[in-house]
C-alpha cells in the first residue's frame, strides 16, 4: 500500500497533491525524549499547511523549532499523534518508505548550505536526484533548469568554495527544488548571510511562493518571519498561531 502511494505521488494529478488538500497535516503530535527527567519537545502540536503557503515558524532557542523541523522533514518520528504529508500518513510508514518520501517530496535548505566542497555547483544540485526514481537521462538539464530558476547559471561549474554566501544558499535552494518537491523546508536559511544576501534569498522565496511552492521556514530572525504570509510561534513545545 505505501509503495503504491509513493509511486503515484510523482505523477501529475496525484490524489495526494490535489488542490485544496493540505501539504502538511499535523494532528496532536508529541515528541518526547527519554532523558532524566524526560523532555517533551513537542506538546500536542496540530498544524495544517496548505499548498502554496509560506509559513514561518519562530521561537527562541530550545523551544522545539528544530524538533518540529525534523518531524516535518521525516527525519524524526513523533512519539504520538499523526502526520500526513501530501495526504500520506507518515507515522505508520516503514523506514524505507519514509526515506523515499523524504527524497521525493521534501526539499531541504540548511543554514550551513551543506554543499559538497569537491563538486561543482551543478553536480551538487544533481545530487538531489540520485536517490530518487528520476531517470539519469536529462538529469544535468534538469539541474541547470533549477539553477536558472535561482539565477545561478553563471556559476554552474564553479566549486562552492568560490561562491559568495548568498550564491551558495541559492545553489542549495536549486538542489532542494530539483525533483519538484511538495514542500521546501528551510532551517534558518539566512542565518549565515549578510543583509544583502538575506534579501536576495528572501526575494527568491517570494518568487517561488508566487510559483505555488509550499515553503516552511524556521527562523528566529524577525525580518525573515515578517516576509512569510503566515507565522506560528513555538514556545516550550507548544504552537501558537500569530
Amino acid at each position: 500500500m505505501p509503495d503504491e502511494l509513493l509511486t503515484r505521488s510523482g505523477a501529475a494529478g496525484d490524489t495526494g497533491q490535489e488542490a485544496g488538500r493540505p501539504v502538511i497535516e499535523l494532528a496532536d503530535v508529541c515528541r518526547d525524549f527519554p532523558s532524566q527527567p524526560p523532555v517533551r519537545a513537542l506538546a500536542h502540536v496540530s498544524l495544517q499547511v496548505g499548498r502554496g503557503d509560506y509559513l514561518a515558524i519562530v521561537g527562541p532557542s530550545g523551544s522545539g523549532k528544530s524538533t518540529l523541523l525534523n518531524v516535518l522533514g521525516l527525519l524524526d518520528r513523533p512519539t504520538s499523534g499523526h502526520y500526513r504529508l501530501d495526504g500520506t500518513e507518515t507515522t505508520t510508514l516503514r523506514e524505507k518508505h519514509r526515506t523515499r518520501l523524504r527524497g521525493e517530496r521534501i526539499g531541504f535548505v540548511f543554514q550551513s548550505f551543506h554543499l559538497l566542497p569537491h563538486r561543482s555547483v551543478v553536480e551538487n544540485v544533481m545530487l538531489a536526484e540520485i536517490y530518487t526514481a528520476q531517470p539519469r537521462a536529462g538529469r544535468r538539464g534538469r539541474a541547470l533548469a533549477a539553477l536558472e530558476r535561482v539565477g545561478l547559471t553563471h556559476r554552474v561549474d564553479f566549486p562552492p568554495g568560490r561562491l559568495s554566501g548568498g550564491e551558495r544558499q541559492r545553489a542549495a535552494i536549486a538542489r532542494a527544488l530539483l525533483g519538484g518537491p511538495s514542500l521546501l523546508l528551510c532551517d534558518e536559511p539566512t542565518g549565515n548571510l549578510d543583509s544583502r544576501n538575506t534579501e536576495a534569498v528572501l526575494g527568491l522565496f517570494d518568487e517561488l511562493r508566487a510559483q505555488g511552492m509550499t515553503i516552511v521556514v524556521i527562523t528566529h530572525e524577525q525580518e525573515v518571519s515578517e516576509r512569510a504570509g503566515r507565522r506560528v510561534r513555538i514556545t516550550d513545545g507548544t504552537l501558537l498561531e500569530e
Binding site: D76, G103, H114, L127, I130
Partner: protein, 392 residues
C-alpha cells in the same frame, strides 16, 4: 539508486581527497607487492633450486656397506659390475676407517718450528674412478690407475684443500707426504669436487696401499646415474655389488624430483606467504582506520544524503565501495609493482622469471577483498547514523 550513480559517488568520494586516498592505498600496495614478489620470487627461486637438485642430487646414489667380521660384503672389483648397469655414469668405492678417521699427515719429515707441517687428515682408500664419481677434476697431476693399484705403489692423491694445508703447490719435483710416518709420492691434486665436498681435505691412496692403515674393506660406494635412472639403479645396485647379500646394503637414493620440487617450493612459499599476508593485514587495518576517520569527517555529508532520500544501505554501499576501490587500486598497483620486481630480481640473478598468471589476476581481487572487509565496520557506522544527529 542506479549502480552507475553509486560508482560515480564512490569514485568522487575517493578522488575528493586524492592524497589521503593515495596514502591509504599504499598499505594495500605494500601488502600485495610483498605477496606477489614473495610468491613470484619463491616460485622462480624454487625452480632454480629444483634445477640444481636435478643436476647434483637427483643422479647421486650412495651405497653404505656395513662392517662385517668375516668376508667383506662388497669386493673392490664390484664397482666394475655396477658401472656395467645401464644408466650408471660413474662409480667409485671408498674405504674409510670409522674408528681412526684422521691420520697424521706431514709434508716433510723435518721438524720445522716456524711452520705447521703436520695435519690430521682423512685418509681414504679409493678405487680409480673417484674423480668422476665425486664430479671433480684433477687440478694438478693425475689420479692413480689400475697399474698403481696392482703394484701396490706408494702413491697418493690429495684434495685441493689438503694440498693447501700441506703446502703442496707443484708436482714436478714429485713431492712426498708422510702418512702415519710412511712416505707416499703425491701424483695428483683433486679439485672442483661437487659431490662429497668434504673430500677436498682428504688424502686418497690405492686400495692396495690402504691396507697398511687398516683400510681393507669397501665401506661406501658412490654411484652417479643418468637423469631419471636413479630410482632404477638404486634398486639394482645392491645386487650388483653384493650378489648374495644385497639386502644388507643401505642405499641412499635421491628424493623423487617431483617431491623435491614441491618440498622446496612449499618451504619457501609458506614462509613468504605469511609475510605477505601480514603485510596485507597491515594494509587492511590502514584502510579501515582511514575510512573510519573519513566517515567521522563526513558526518554532515551523510546527513545531507539521508535528507536527500538516501537509505541506510545507500550510505553503507557508498563507503563500502570507496574502501573496495581503494583496495582494488592498491591491488592493481601492487600486482604491477610486484610483477616488475619479480622480473627485475630474476634479471639481476639471471633466473628465468616464473609467475603464475592466476596470481597476477588474483592479486587485485585480493586487494579489493581486503578493502571490502576493511570497509565493513566504517560503512556500518556510517549507515547507523541517524540523519537528525548527522545534520546537527
Amino acid at each position: 539508486m542506479d549502480v552507475r550513480d553509486l560508482i560515480g559517488e564512490a569514485v568522487a568520494g575517493m578522488l575528493a581527497r586524492p592524497v589521503r586516498s593515495a596514502l591509504t592505498t599504499l598499505g594495500t600496495v605494500l601488502g600485495i607487492t610483498t605477496l606477489v614478489v614473495t610468491l613470484g620470487v619463491a616460485a622462480t627461486a624454487g625452480n632454480q633450486i629444483v634445477g640444481r637438485f636435478d643436476e647434483l642430487v637427483a643422479t647421486a646414489i650412495t651405497v653404505e656397506v656395513p662392517e662385517t667380521e668375516h668376508v667383506p660384503l662388497v669386493e673392490w672389483d664390484a664397482v666394475d659390475r655396477v658401472t656395467r648397469l645401464r644408466g650408471v655414469v660413474s662409480a667409485a668405492a671408498l674405504a674409510e676407517d670409522k674408528d681412526q678417521a684422521n691420520l697424521s699427515v706431514r709434508s716433510n719429515d723435518l721438524v720445522d718450528p716456524a711452520r705447521v707441517t703436520t695435519q690430521r687428515l682423512t685418509v681414504l682408500a679409493a678405487s680409480t674412478g673417484l674423480p668422476e664419481a665425486v664430479r671433480g677434476r684433477m687440478v694438478l697431476g693425475r689420479f692413480y690407475d689400475a697399474g698403481h693399484v696392482r703394484r701396490g705403489d706408494r702413491v697418493a692423491v690429495i684434495g685441493d684443500e689438503a694440498a693447501r694445508m700441506l703446502g703442496v703447490t707443484r708436482l714436478d719435483a714429485a713431492p712426498a707426504i708422510f702418512i702415519a710416518g710412511r712416505a707416499y709420492t703425491v701424483i695428483g691434486v683433486l679439485g672442483d669436487v661437487r659431490r662429497e665436498r668434504n673430500l677436498r681435505s682428504a688424502v686418497f691412496v690405492p686400495p692396495t696401499a690402504g691396507r697398511r692403515f687398516g683400510l681393507r674393506d669397501v665401506s661406501r660406494v658412490l654411484v652417479n646415474t643418468d637423469l631419471g635412472a636413479a630410482e632404477l639403479i638404486a634398486r639394482q645396485a645392491p645386487a650388483a655389488l653384493s650378489p648374495g647379500n644385497g639386502d644388507m646394503l643401505q642405499v641412499v637414493a635421491p628424493p623423487s624430483p617431483t617431491r623435491a620440487r614441491d618440498q622446496a617450493q612449499e618451504d619457501v612459499n609458506a614462509l613468504f606467504l605469511i609475510l605477505g599476508l601480514v603485510s596485507l593485514l597491515v594494509g587492511a587495518v590502514g584502510i579501515a582506520n582511514v575510512t573510519l576517520v573519513t566517515v567521522m569527517e563526513r558526518v554532515a555529508e551523510i546527513g545531507l544524503r539521508r535528507s536527500l532520500g538516501a537509505a541506510r544501505r545507500h550510505v553503507a554501499a557508498q563507503f563500502l565501495l570507496e574502501s573496495t576501490l581503494i583496495g582494488l587500486t592498491g591491488g592493481v598497483v601492487g600486482a604491477s609493482v610486484g610483477v616488475v620486481a619479480v622480473v627485475a630480481v630474476s634479471a639481476a640473478k639471471e633466473w628465468t622469471p616464473l609467475l603464475d598468471v592466476r596470481l597476477a589476476v588474483a592479486a587485485p581481487v585480493a586487494g579489493a577483498l581486503v578493502g571490502l572487509l576493511a570497509g565493513l565496520y566504517p560503512a556500518m557506522r556510517a549507515a547507523r547514523m541517524e540523519p537528525v544527529d548527522a545534520l546537527r
